[in-house]
Symmetry: C2
Subunit: 279 residues, 2 copies
């Protein structure tokens, strides 16, 4: 099978590695507007060749759209225009807008909207990782709007990647990821800015930073070119969760201001409930 | 050398493992008000025996106070009352109040105030880890108030643990840890509460949680018995940082509300500056 990956970065590159290794893709064609990324993808053997989008899509069986989501939204109708038998899937972090961008296309059935729940704070072809995705979940959205054979092929791809599948409508997906992914990035960016503001007074404090700090701040390394479009597309949900989060932080603030340590203990005990979810 | 560890939990237990393994401690005596912890510490061979505090201190060369900081503050004057030649060190996450609690004691010189910058979200003797501390920093506070031989012994202990030393006054220490440790815990507790609030509507969202979420939320498993006293003792610094952090979050909120994505990108780029510090 010939697979085209549009956007050879963290996600596209990591998928390429496994699809090649497992023999699913006999040939992988890379498409990327960034010439440097194209070169690196070749050097790292993530792809067999680089081509222009149109010729790549025409000779492929599967097209994976793995660009930042604003580019994916713009590219999807163009790609659907080129396909007949091909299957097109995206891997973006929001699903409502990309589904809308395909909704009225004659070839809508060839498109499967997906979101594999894996990533790191790094980006670009060098960030690609072997064995990424393994054991994680993928969301497939609005599968009733996709052709059955297209859904089957995409399910097979995620099976090869070692992922389990969750089916959901696009609107629900976008609410849920605001809670379990997007807000974590905002808190991490804001925490980095809080501490970097202080750094101006001297670097000494960073010698004290240990695992806990690194853990809560590492997402702050994430790429704005990826994250601004996510926050833009999922603006309302992210705002809701951010408002809730600020309200939760204010409870901690009020406890400290009023020296209400009993309630502070209750807030922490309640937070410990996360143990039920994170093993 | 005989070492008494008062409070055989994550930190005390992890120190015990290395001090025994490296041959520094011929005998380790555990003191703990929790009978279950005493039993576990014996079963896990973290300590050779369990004794009452007074008899343990009297026969020891080094006493490590590794209880939650409110207990350490109360115990330190009692322990100093018992010592003559012995060295006493604490390992608590705040330093100003413990230093004050020893300040006027005749045996102040025998006490060395320290804070090894390592921990996990787990607590109790089962949480003890071999090779903990390795490569991390320890802060020694106000060493001019400690006897030279006491400081030397404590420096040797941290050398054996593989840590490097930073010297600082207690007030500066408490400001810095508010930035690189205490605020991370508050954001993590608050994030857990934000998401758990939503969980009432169904568990499905947690299937979507992946590495990024886990990373920013794992500290929310931390023990209230340890953290309430830390926030209590470092109340003013933590409030300052928390206010700054809420102000930073409000910038993200304003960007989303006003759809000012250019500034949102700048905020994220600024946060990316954390790469300079976290390699």
């Amino acid at each position: 099978m010939t697979v085209t990956i549009i956007g050879i970065g963290l996600i596209g590159g990591s998928m390429a590695l496994t699809l090649k290794e497992k023999g699913f893709a006999a040939k992988i064609i890379g498409v990327d507007s960034n010439a440097e990324h194209c070169q690196k993808a070749l050097t790292l053997r993530l792809v067999d060749e680089i081509q222009e989008m149109k010729e790549a899509v025409l000779q492929s069986d599967l097209v994976i759209l793995a660009t930042p989501i604003n580019a994916a939204e713009a590219l999807l109708p163009v790609v659907l225009e080129l396909v007949n038998r091909q299957v097109v899937m995206d891997v973006g972090s929001t699903k409502k807008i990309i589904c809308e961008s395909a909704a009225k296309h004659l070839n809508r059935g060839r498109f499967v909207a997906t979101h594999p729940m894996w990533g790191t704070e790094y980006s670009g072809p060098e960030a690609a990782v072997k064995g990424a995705f393994e054991g994680k979940a993928t969301v497939i959205c609005s599968k009733e709007n996709s052709d059955a054979d297209a859904v089957s092929l995409v399910e097979k791809v995620y099976g090869l990647l070692g992922m389990h599948l969750i089916y959901m409508n696009a609107a629900d997906h976008d609410v849920h990821v605001a809670y379990v992914s997007h807000i974590s990035h905002i808190t991490s960016f804001a925490l980095a800015n809080t501490v970097l503001e202080k750094e101006k007074e001297g670097d000494a404090i960073f010698e004290l930073a240990s695992g806990g700090f690194e853990s809560t701040v590492r997402l702050a390394k994430s790429n704005p070119a990826m994250w601004v479009p996510i926050f833009m597309q999922n603006r309302e949900n992210v705002l809701d969760v951010l408002n809730e989060h600020i309200a939760q932080l204010r409870k901690f603030k009020a406890c400290l201001e009023k020296e209400n340590y009993e309630y502070l203990g209750e807030l922490i005990e309640n937070a410990n409930g996360i143990k039920r979810i994170l093993k």
